[in-house]
Every structure is written in structure tokens, then in C-alpha cells.
């Protein structure tokens, strides 16, 4: 009998739990430890944030589903890992603190044979003074944040309707943010809603980003063929900004948000202040801050996590200059380097380096996107990890399954406005996510793997994916036919 403990019920953790629960039916236990009672389809938070969807449309309660599937659920936040056990008990275990309404604050421990750390990001609003829902800006990173954003957006729209001229600023709230795609989507959804309401002439929309160029998206941009030309995502994105009259500030690391202005430094070393009326700025991400203790109780967290709190896995972490980055540096199996029965798929693993070119201002401030680990690759990694654990539990002597970001692709459908007839989205595919300049010398990616197109069809795809992925997450009939 094997005990599998999964920390986190986001895209990666839930994917692993669902697959393991169908493969390991009898005699094994699967336990999910996660602080929120609900699952959230985060990509649709963009529509919650402009009031197009209600939070109930992007979330559902996990406990009934897990009960049906024989998965134990602890509504709790993992705090300490004991991968060697303790002085009295050699069983590897995890300590957690309950967060559910009835037993909030209680601590507990659970033993494991295999541990999946799928705890995703800590939303590090504290990195920038004044950033986030406890400061002066809104966020769409969780369903609750997006609900708050929608209320503040509606209030701002009412002011424009009353005749005021307002500035809406959307983007990244620190020089090292990732997830620019989400900020891009929210920018164009806000712009779309203002236009549909006939208010665009009194609303200025500004995209403020740490990307050196538009269209970088934290992956160093894309090159794809369009009408016989190899074109760049930079040109393509700038064209959309021009068409929709969205102003952009690039290469900006936000340093402070006051109640009326956003202060930032740019790559050329200049400092600026941007007055605003409504602002949604993404936070930088950290690991969630788990502590690791050895048998004697000594803190060995730095053996397991990097300084950013992300778990060190089977990657090549040797520091090397940008020109020497290789596709093979990226992890393949997500096995923890220090303890091979621990895995870290999704945002929880430590990337070996960025994907976009590293850049800093003359005073040394880093202003460059951290590498994104978006939904589709997070699900693919979790699937591979679940397969590896299944094989080991069932005693199959096979090599670990792999899903390196340098060998998987990603489809990104970035909403640019909702509506069955008037919506649009930028649909992109890239293969692989991490450029492989050895295999694909021209652009680092497969010549036919990269693709980009803007139009109404993209909105339909994004809307379809919303229903498909919630169907899949709920384990409804034929859910296994829907790919990660």
C-alpha cells in the first residue's frame, strides 16, 4: 500500500490527483492538502474581473468530488516537510495547518511515500509598497481578487459615465513579474468593455510592463509565418495596441504605488510617475515558503528550495551567461534533486533560468520577466509526474515520464474582449515553450509550431476551453479524453 500526498489543488495538483485516483484504485491512499475549499479555473478570472462572469462560474467545491473519487482532502496549508521523518518516526511526513471554517488553525501531520509539491505561487504583493488588494491596486489572480476587481472596475466605469476622464492602468507590479499574458488579456478586456459601453473617448487605457518589448510574454517572444513573412510577436502585438489605441510603457519595474500614482524605473535608469484612477497590477511570484527539516530537526530548506522558495528538481542550475543557456538545462521529470520521492510540477519547481533575455537598469535593478509556467504545460507536467508515481507504486521498472518545457508546446488563447459576436482573442501556439536553438537554429522553435492569429474565433476557443476544462476538472463523463 502506498500513500501519496499532493500539496495544492490548482491546475497541477488537481490534474495529478484526478489521474492517480483512476490508476491506483485499491489499497493506496491519495490525499490532497490545499488551503482553499474550491477549485478555480484561473484563466477565466479575467472575465470575472470585468463583470462578465460570476465567481461561481469559475469555481466549484472540491470536497464532494474528492469524496466521490476516493481522494482524501485536508483543507489546510502545508507548512513543514520532514522528508527523512523525525527522530521518533522515520516516515517522511508533512505538517499542515488547517484553514477550513471548523478547525481553522489546527495543525496536523500526514505520512507519505510519494509527495507532489504543486503549491504554485505565493502572490508576493509585499515586494512593492502599495501593491495589491491590501494596497491601492486590484488583482485578478484568484476568484476573490477578481470579484473585488470587478467591483472597482464598475465604480470606475460609473465615474466615466458621469462625465469624468479616467486612466486605467494594467500590467506588472514589479520588475521580475511573470504571467504577462494575464495582464495583456485584462488590458484588452477592459478596453473592450469601455468601448462596448460607448465610453472609450473618455477613458485612457495603459499597459505597463516589465517586458522590454511588447509580445515578449516572458518567453522571449515568438516568430511565426504570416502571409509569407516570418514576423515577430512584437510587431503583431504593437499592431494590436495601435489598432485599439492602448498606450504602452515597456521595460518598467514598478517600485511603489501610492493612492494616486504608480512609480517605476525603466531599463534606461530613468524614474517615472504615472497618475492613475484604476490599476490592476500583477504581483511577482515566490514559492509558498515551505520549511524542510531533517531527522534531527535541522533546517535543510536550502537543499530543497532555491532562494525564491521554488523547489529544486532535475534541472541544471549551474549559473551561466544568456548565450550559453541550453534547452537541456530544463527539468524533464520534476523529481526533487534532494529526495527522489518528491516531485514539483507547475509553478512550484525552480526554473534553471529565465526564458526572456535577462536585463537590468544601470543601478542593477532587474527588469525582466520571470519564465511563465502556464496552465497547459502545468497540466502536462503533472500528468507526467502522476504516470511516474503510478509506475513506481505498481512496481513497473520504467524510466520516469518526462515533460520538459523544452519539449512540450503551449497553446495560449489571450482574450481581447468577451462576446459571442463582438469578442476576440489572440490565439497563439508555440513549440517548444523553451527555445531550442540547437534543434531549431533559425528561431529556437519549430517552424510550423509557432502560430498567431487575432479574431472572433479565438474568443470561441477560449470560451470552449472554459467549459471543457471545468468539465474535465469535475471528472464528468469522458473527462480523460480532454487533454491537459
Amino acid at each position: 500500500m502506498s500513500r501519496i500526498v499532493i500539496l495544492g489543488a490548482g491546475i497541477a495538483g488537481h490534474t495529478a490527483a484526478m489521474h492517480l485516483s483512476r490508476w491506483l484504485r485499491r489499497g493506496h491512499t491519495i490525499t490532497v492538502v490545499s488551503p482553499q475549499a474550491d477549485w478555480n479555473w484561473i484563466p477565466s478570472n479575467v472575465w470575472v474581473g470585468v463583470g462578465r462572469m460570476r465567481p461561481e462560474q469559475v469555481t466549484f467545491p472540491l470536497a464532494p468530488l474528492y469524496q466521490r473519487r476516493g481522494i482524501a482532502f485536508e483543507q489546510a496549508r502545508a507548512t513543514v516537510l520532514y522528508p527523512e521523518g523525525t527522530a521518533d518516526d522515520p516516515t517522511p511526513q508533512v505538517e499542515f495547518q488547517r484553514t477550513g471554517p471548523e478547525r481553522d488553525g489546527e495543525t496536523g501531520r500526514i505520512g507519505y511515500d510519494y509527495l507532489v509539491n504543486a503549491t504554485g505561487p505565493k502572490l508576493n504583493f509585499a515586494a512593492t509598497p502599495g501593491l495589491g488588494p491590501d494596497g491601492h491596486t486590484v488583482s485578478i489572480c484568484t476568484a476573490a481578487h477578481a470579484t473585488g476587481a470587478a467591483q472597482r472596475f464598475a465604480a470606475a466605469v460609473a465615474r466615466v459615465q458621469a462625465g469624468e476622464h479616467l486612466r486605467f492602468v494594467i500590467g506588472t507590479g514589479h520588475g521580475t513579474c511573470t504571467c504577462q499574458g494575464a495582464a495583456f488579456e485584462y488590458t484588452f478586456n477592459v478596453e473592450h468593455e469601455l468601448r462596448e459601453a460607448g465610453l472609450r473617448d473618455r477613458a485612457e487605457v495603459v499597459y505597463l510592463t516589465n517586458e522590454a518589448d511588447l509580445g515578449d510574454f516572458g518567453v522571449g517572444g515568438l516568430a511565426f509565418t504570416d502571409r509569407g513573412y516570418l514576423t515577430s510577436s512584437k510587431l503583431w502585438t504593437e499592431s494590436l495596441f495601435r489598432e485599439r489605441d492602448v498606450r504602452a510603457i515597456t521595460g518598467a519595474g514598478v517600485t511603489e504605488v501610492t493612492p494616486t500614482a504608480i512609480r517605476y524605473e525603466q531599463l534606461d535608469g530613468s524614474f517615472h510617475e504615472l497618475p492613475y484612477d484604476f490599476a490592476m497590477l500583477l504581483p511577482p511570484f515566490r514559492g509558498v515558503g515551505l520549511t524542510v527539516l531533517d531527522r534531527s530537526g535541522a533546517d535543510i530548506s536550502d537543499r530543497v528550495f532555491n532562494p525564491g522558495g521554488f523547489m529544486k528538481v532535475d534541472a541544471d542550475y549551474a549559473a551561466k551567461p544568456y548565450g550559453e543557456w541550453r534547452a537541456e538545462d530544463w527539468p524533464r521529470t520534476y523529481e526533487c534533486a534532494a529526495f527522489p520521492n518528491i516531485f514539483a510540477p507547475g509553478i512550484a519547481f525552480a526554473p534553471p533560468h529565465a526564458i526572456s533575455q535577462p536585463r537590468q537598469a544601470p543601478d542593477g535593478t532587474v527588469i525582466a520577466p520571470a519564465p511563465p509556467r502556464t496552465g497547459m504545460p502545468s497540466g502536462v507536467m503533472a500528468h507526467a509526474v502522476a504516470e511516474t508515481i503510478r509506475d513506481r507504486v505498481l512496481g513497473r521498472t520504467r524510466p520516469a515520464h518526462h515533460a520538459s518545457l523544452a519539449e512540450v508546446g503551449a497553446a495560449c488563447v489571450a482574450s481581447a474582449g468577451a462576446g459571442f459576436r463582438h469578442g476576440s482573442a489572440a490565439s497563439m501556439t508555440m513549440y517548444p515553450v523553451v527555445p531550442d536553438r540547437h534543434t531549431y537554429p533559425a528561431t529556437g522553435r519549430h517552424p510550423r509550431g509557432n502560430f498567431g492569429e487575432i479574431g472572433l474565433a479565438g474568443h470561441w476557443v477560449k470560451y470552449m476551453l472554459h467549459f471543457l476544462f471545468i468539465w474535465k476538472a469535475k471528472g464528468r463523463p469522458f473527462w480523460t479524453l480532454i487533454p491537459e
Binding site: R242, T250, G455
Partner: protein, 63 residues
Amino acid sequence: MPDTTATTATTAPVYAAPVFLDTAPAPLPTPQTLSRRRNVVRQLGRFVAFNVKMIGMILHGAH
């Protein structure tokens, strides 16, 4: 250890007005392109095409 903080003069940065990116050199879609992007019949075809692309990529990336 010497106290380095005491001697470091921290000058507050001077904040200038924002400078926006000039997107004027980027291509502007023509009215025909914009109408193609909204044309339901054409977009139905694009919907199918993008789904085929995604499936191809999933199959290619499957291990």
C-alpha cells in the same frame, strides 16, 4: 563590521512624466482585415483550424 549604511547618501529619485511607446510604425489592419476577423463564417473555419493545430501540438508533445 563597519556601519556602511550611515555613510551611504540615499538620494530620492526624481520622477519624470511617463514616456509611452511609439506604436505608430506598427502595421494598422485595414477595414477589410478587421471585418474578416469578425466575419462569422470565416471565423468558423478559423475556429476549426486552430483546434486542429492545438490537437496536432498535443499529439506531438505527448510522451
